[in-house]
């Protein structure tokens, strides 16, 4: 079936550095999402993105976070600078449409460890 690929699966960086998480969404999908899951807690919505723009973001989407999808390539989440509390698993998702009955396809997640 359709797959969302996330690269890398695990990233270890020092606090204060920049990190970019990459997501290759399902090819014909138009809406893209990032979710964050801190160890032992539930997955939480960060941001959704359509037509080159952020549509909605949560309070977890700090000023240090940014997303883009240049020229239909990877959908990326950049954190600059990183903080210890950014350590989490970040899940990318995509969907064809935006309505509630549109299926979300998730990637495996990227585990980010900030030291």
């Amino acid at each position: 079936g359709p797959k969302v690929l996330q690269i890398p699966s695990h990233q270890i960086i020092d606090m204060g550095q920049m990190v970019t998480l990459n997501c290759d969404p399902v090819s014909n999908h138009l809406y893209f999402y990032w979710y964050k899951q801190i160890l032992g807690q539930q997955m939480e919505f960060l941001v959704n993105f359509y037509n080159g723009k952020v549509m909605e973001k949560s309070k977890l989407f700090k000023d240090q976070f940014s997303v883009e999808r240049p020229d239909g390539s990877y959908f990326t989440l950049k954190i600059q600078p990183t903080a210890l509390e950014d350590s989490a698993v970040y899940f990318c998702a995509s969907s064809l449409g935006r309505q509630s009955n549109e299926r979300l396809f998730f990637g495996h997640g990227t585990k980010l460890s900030v030291l």
């Binding site: 969302v4 997955m43 935006r98 509630s100 009955n101 998730f106 495996h108």
Partner: protein, 111 residues
């Protein structure tokens, strides 16, 4: 704001037995509920979804009924298999695929 509660963190069962994983929710909007399953080293996948009150929805032997009166969407299966061992998330759509997730329930099925 919206919230989803899954009361069990871990459920262990012998194969062939029935299972029910609890999910309750709070929202001020018309609810659209989902169950996602995540097997080890795999991405979360949609298992079930519903927005229709009191209508059972089924997939791969699992079923759930949205009850708006009790704000519940419990996941059930009449006979679990070893391959059902996974992490199960209940989620509520808070608007346009902005999902609010529960903490998840690990289901472990033993021989």
């Amino acid at each position: 704001g919206d919230s989803v509660t899954q009361t069990e963190g871990l459920v262990t069962l012998t194969k062939g037995l029935p299972v029910m994983l609890n999910c309750t929710y709070q929202t001020t909007y018309s609810p659209f509920l989902f169950w996602y399953v995540q097997h080890l080293n795999e991405a979360p996948k949609l298992l079930l979804k519903s927005s229709t009150d009191n209508k059972r929805t089924e997939h791969q032997g699992f079923y759930a009924t949205l009850h708006k009166s009790s704000s519940s969407f419990h996941l059930q299966k009449s006979s679990v298999q070893l391959s059902d061992s996974a992490l199960y998330f209940c989620a509520l759509d808070s608007g346009y695929n902005k999902l609010t997730f529960g903490k998840g329930t690990v289901l472990l099925v033993s021989p």
